[in-house]
Each structure stands twice: as structure tokens, then as C-alpha cells.
């Protein structure tokens, strides 16, 4: 096969595999991400598929407030930062790694938290960006009241104004687990740490208490508003991801659909392969004619062609998976936690697809080669 055709084939298959892997990888997730391009490309929003009383995740504080505004009056919401941005907490003389969570003043009410000591911070604390915090009571037990009087987070001193019951399980409601060893700060105060930073777009989630609403209702509500937003044209759907595997059946259905889309994409690549390989057969008619003259049977030619295409498919598949990996890494880097599910299964699926398509599509060029009349093609000298 001519190097040009070989290269084209490899590139074609690689691109097919990239597309497929991405679709396949992404398809393993369930979350619709909405991304605002301008003015700050780093602002990445996502609407988390809310579970029955769920939440909406991955946005800037500004956007979280906006979304909260769209919700009906009987739905209460509180912005919450993710717990994963750990801070260095110094209690007394000891350093302690703790979850630091920014929340709205209404958070305690929303989740019905037991205030064991002092008070939860108020709306004023929030507006004034005062340096106050509330800790879970296990920290009080651990360090004692005395020690808590000197409380530093990332080198800044905070006043501990209260403690809440720590073993509440919020994990099912929210991303994260605030059940113990957590520190709650007024969200504005804490958000200063992120504003304008790389993570600004994904630190926020909106905890929602919506009795009587299904998650589909909520989702529709939010999506509708997103679409109606003035800035809607600047928003686009980006890579979603799902960490919630509850709805298996539906997931499978969607996965099958996505696999079908991937297959269609690859079928296009397949048509491309057939085209290139046929062009190759046409171009190399003399070569095939010569081989027939030298005693090659159709099965020999078919074997050679299939071998070549499958070799290209292997190389293209490999290249495609590497490329898809790179694209994924870059994407995940910008999207933060929302990495598409690019894993060994995606890679294997991509490879199998590449081989399958290579093998199937070689049938037609192989037939064409077998039909070549050696007498006719060798007659045209040069």
C-alpha cells in the first residue's frame, strides 16, 4: 500500500477512535455541563442531575445565586462549596487537616443541623465577610474549648462561634461528606479563596430542599431557565459526568444509544476506509494484476489487503486512543473534577471497534482486487 494511503487510513481510523472513545467515555457519565465561554473561560457551570432532594453542582457563586433565584418559593436552597479543597487548619499549636466548607447562613436550617454550642453564623456575618466559623462537635471533643479559641485556616485567624452535630450523613444529598471534622465558613468569606481562580467555576454546588419535586422537575426548571437566560448563546454543553450509578437501567439504555452513535461515527470512518482502500486497489491494479500473473489466488490478495488494513486499524486505533487520552486529560484539566470516564474499557472498546471496522471494510477492496483482470491491467504498459 502506498504510504499516502496508509497514512490517510491510519489518521482516519485514529480520528474515528478518538471520536468514539470520547463519546463512549463521556457517555458513561450522566451530567449535563453547561459552560460559559466568556468573559472568563474558566467559569464552568454544571447542573447536577438532582436526586430526589439533591443538589446542583459545579458553578461559580454568582451562578449559584442566579440558579437559586430561579427556584420556586417552596424550594429552599443553600450554596455549598465542595469539601475537596482541603485547607491547613491550625488549632492551638497543632496543625490539622480538616474539611473546610463554605455554606450559606441557611445551611443549618436546610439540613436541620443540631447546633450543640453557640450559634450558626448569620446573614450579617455573611454579608460582612466576617472571619467566623462553626465546627462539628467532634473537633470540640478532640481539642477542647480552650484550644479552639485560637483557630487559623491557611494562616488566617477565625473566631469559632459555634458547633454542630457532626455525624449527620449528608453524603446522599450532596457531593461530599460533612459528617465529621468539618469547619463551616460563611460562603462569601471562604469563596474569596477561589474567586477568579482556576477552581472558581466548579467549587460551588447548590443544596436544594425540594419536597414534592422530582429530580426531572428540578432539572427541567433549571435547564429551561438556562436556555431562557439572556446569556444563553454563550453557554454550551460540555462534558458531563456521573458519579451516581443509581439508575442503572436508564444508564444502560443511554450507553447503548451512545454506543450506537459511536458506531455510526465509526461507520463513517469505515466508509472512508473503504474509499481509501478501493482507491488503493484501483491505483495498484497493476501490482495486483502482476501478483495474479505470478500465481496469486484471490484468497492471497484478500489476505494481503485485510492484513494491511487491519495493521493500519491497529496503528490508527492505538494512535486514536493515545489522542483521546490526551484530549481527555486536557479536558479534565479544565473541567476540574468532571473528567470523562476514560478508562481501560474505553480503550479496549476503541481498539475492538477499530479492528472490527478494519476487518469488515476490507471485504469490499479485497473483492475488487480479486476481480482484477491481469491481462487487461498488464496490457497497459506503464
Amino acid at each position: 500500500m502506498k504510504p499516502l494511503y496508509k497514512t490517510l487510513l491510519i489518521i482516519g481510523i485514529a480520528m474515528g477512535v478518538v471520536a468514539t472513545s470520547l463519546i463512549f467515555g463521556v457517555g458513561q457519565g450522566m451530567v449535563m455541563h453547561i459552560r460559559e465561554k466568556d468573559p472568563n473561560d474558566l467559569d464552568i457551570y454544571a447542573v447536577y442531575q438532582p436526586t430526589s432532594s439533591g443538589g446542583i453542582t459545579g458553578m461559580t457563586l454568582h451562578f449559584a445565586r442566579e440558579i437559586a433565584g430561579w427556584l420556586p418559593d417552596d424550594v429552599t436552597a443553600s450554596a455549598v462549596t465542595f469539601d475537596r479543597y482541603d485547607a491547613e487548619v491550625k488549632i492551638g499549636a497543632e496543625f490539622f487537616s480538616s474539611r473546610v466548607v463554605g455554606v450559606d447562613a441557611g445551611f443549618a436550617t436546610l439540613f436541620d443541623l443540631d447546633i450543640t454550642e453557640g450559634r450558626f453564623f448569620s446573614k450579617e456575618d455573611q454579608d460582612n465577610r466576617s472571619r467566623v466559623c462553626v465546627v462539628t462537635n467532634d473537633l470540640v471533643d478532640l481539642f477542647g474549648r480552650e484550644a479552639l479559641s485560637s483557630f487559623m485556616i491557611n494562616g488566617v485567624e477565625y473566631e469559632v462561634i459555634g458547633a454542630v452535630q457532626g455525624d449527620v450523613n449528608l453524603a446522599s444529598l450532596m457531593h461530599g461528606n460533612y459528617s465529621s471534622s468539618s469547619v463551616f465558613l460563611p460562603i462569601e468569606t471562604w469563596y474569596e479563596q477561589f474567586e477568579g481562580s482556576f477552581y472558581a467555576g466548579v467549587t460551588m454546588q447548590l443544596a436544594v430542599h425540594a419536597p414534592g419535586y422530582s429530580k426531572a422537575d428540578l432539572n427541567q426548571l433549571v435547564s429551561q431557565n438556562l436556555i431562557n437566560m439572556e446569556s444563553a448563546p454563550t453557554l454550551k454543553v460540555a462534558t458531563p459526568n456521573e458519579k451516581n450509578y443509581n439508575a442503572w437501567a436508564r444508564d444502560l439504555l443511554i450507553l447503548a444509544g451512545i454506543f450506537f452513535v459511536a458506531f455510526l461515527v465509526f461507520l463513517l470512518a469505515g466508509l472512508n476506509i473503504i474509499q481509501i482502500a478501493s482507491a488503493n486497489v484501483y491505483d495498484q491494479q497493476r501490482v495486483f494484476g502482476l501478483k495474479v500473473a505470478l500465481g496469486a489466488l484471490p484468497k492471497h490478495l484478500a489476505g494481503e489487503i485485510t492484513g494491511e488494513i487491519v495493521a493500519c486499524a491497529l496503528q490508527g486505533g492505538y494512535l486514536g486512543i493515545v489522542l483521546a487520552g490526551i484530549v481527555n486529560t486536557i479536558m479534565n484539566h479544565y473541567v476540574g473534577m468532571y473528567w470523562a470516564a476514560f478508562n481501560i474499557f474505553t480503550a479496549i472498546a476503541g481498539m475492538i471497534l477499530a479492528l472490527l471496522v478494519g476487518w469488515i471494510t476490507s471485504v469490499i477492496p479485497a473483492r475488487q482486487a480479486a476481480r482484477i483482470d491481469p491481462v487487461a491491467v498488464l496490457r497497459q504498459e506503464r
Binding site: 501490482v287 500473473a293 505470478l294 491481469p374 504498459e381
Partner: protein
């Protein structure tokens, strides 16, 4: 060994038919270098293709070692081309992306020979053609004469009994052409092959043992080129 009896080849569909061969009767013998001459379109290539089982006759009988070739299927004919005949072309027809050695091994790949014999056999025929040192070169790194030697080596690699060369010197200068004819002649003289060479070049044809002259699909003359019958004269005084 090879016997064509009243072979006719008609191309095309009625009414646009071309009779490329018209009741050709011919016997080929081992140890014989046969030159075929004739104007273009006279059926030389068609004759070669039919002898080489690359094309089949419209009518007539073709006996190869006593067997009627007309009755053979595609697979058997491919096997015959592979084992019985060696083809040499004007345009050399080497594969440019393969080395000389790989080019020579092509017929082995389609043969029943065990794989481990391919390379030694290919090297042996290259040696015989005097170009063993070029085995790892690519065809475009060789002169025309060397390329044609590679093509002859490829034709010989499966020990065929018949070599069919269609204008093998057509792309070569006359000195190189002579060398190639000498090589083909040696195959007839020393290795007992039946060699058929289509040529326009009288210098090439003159080296043959036998000359076939063709015209409009017929053999109009089939004679031995017996040099001893030539009488050289001189002025009387």
C-alpha cells in the same frame, strides 16, 4: 511439452469482436529460445498470455505435458502460472516498495514451498543472475538491465519449465538488451527451459534458435534460425 492446436482468441462481444489469435498451431520445446516477431496488434502478447495460462482461448486445444489446460479451474491455472511459467515484462514490473530480495520471493509466497526455502532459493537465483550483491537494494536504485535481471530471477524462482518474456529488452539500450538475451539464451541452452521472447528488435530475435513471425493473429512463418545455412560470398576477384 507444450502444444497449441488451432487456438483462437476472440475479444469483445458481437458485433465488435477482435480476433487476436486465429487458429494458431504451435509446439514449444525444451532447450529452445523462440523469438516472436510481428507488427503491434498481431497477437504476440495474447499468444504469450494464453501459453502462460493467464488468459484462456476461445477455441482450440492446449496440451501441457499431455494435459488439456482448457478444463482446468482458476486455482489450477494459478498454480501452473506459479510453478510452470516464469513471466518477464517490458516494464520490469517490480514492486517499488519492496527490496530486490522481496520482489524475487513474491512467487514463493503463492507457492506450496515451505517458507524456510524462500530466501535461500531467491538468493540462489539472484546469484545465478549475477546480482546477489543487490539483494537488499530497492528497484529504483538499479539500472534497467539490473532490474530486468531481478525480474528474470523472479521468473526463475519456482523453477519453471517455460519462460515467457514480452519485449524484455524494449526499455533497454541495445548493449544491455544483448546481455539480457544472452541470459535468456543461457536458460534455454544450459537449463533446458523453453524460452519465448516477444521482440521488435532484430538483433534480439537473431539470437534465438527459432523465429515465429506473426501477422493478424496468425503465425505466418515458423522457422529455425540456422546460421550455418548462411553463405558468405566475396567479389570474384
Amino acid at each position: 511439452m507444450i502444444e497449441l492446436i488451432s487456438i483462437t482468441k476472440v475479444y469483445g462481444q458481437e458485433p465488435n469482436t477482435v480476433t487476436a489469435l486465429d487458429r494458431v498451431t504451435l509446439k514449444l520445446n525444451p532447450n529452445e529460445l523462440t523469438a516472436v516477431m510481428g507488427p503491434s496488434g498481431s497477437g504476440k502478447t495474447t499468444l504469450l498470455n494464453i501459453i502462460g495460462c493467464l488468459d484462456s482461448a476461445t477455441a482450440g486445444e492446449y496440451h501441457l505435458d499431455g494435459e488439456n489446460v482448457a478444463g482446468l479451474d482458476l486455482k489450477a491455472k494459478a498454480r501452473l502460472r506459479n510453478e510452470m511459467f516464469g513471466f518477464v515484462f517490458q516494464a520490469f514490473n517490480l514492486l517499488p516498495d519492496k527490496t530486490v530480495l522481496d520482489n524475487v520471493m513474491i512467487p514463493s509466497r503463492y507457492s506450496r514451498r515451505p517458507r524456510k526455502e524462500w530466501k535461500p532459493k531467491a538468493m540462489a537465483v539472484l546469484e545465478q543472475m549475477g546480482i546477489a550483491d543487490l539483494a537488499l537494494r530497492y528497484p529504483d536504485q538499479l539500472s534497467g538491465g539490473q532490474q530486468q535481471r531481478v525480474a528474470i530471477a523472479r521468473a526463475l524462482v519456482n523453477d519453471p519449465k517455460v519462460i515467457l518474456a514480452d519485449e524484455p529488452t524494449g526499455n533497454l539500450d541495445s548493449a544491455t538488451g544483448r546481455e539480457i538475451v544472452d541470459v535468456l539464451k543461457t536458460l534455454a541452452d544450459k537449463q533446458g527451459k523453453a524460452v519465448v521472447v516477444v521482440t521488435h528488435d532484430g538483433m534480439v530475435a537473431s539470437q534465438a534458435h527459432r523465429l515465429l513471425q506473426m501477422m493478424d493473429g496468425r503465425i505466418i512463418d515458423d522457422s529455425m534460425l540456422d546460421s550455418s545455412s548462411v553463405v558468405f560470398s566475396h567479389p570474384n576477384f
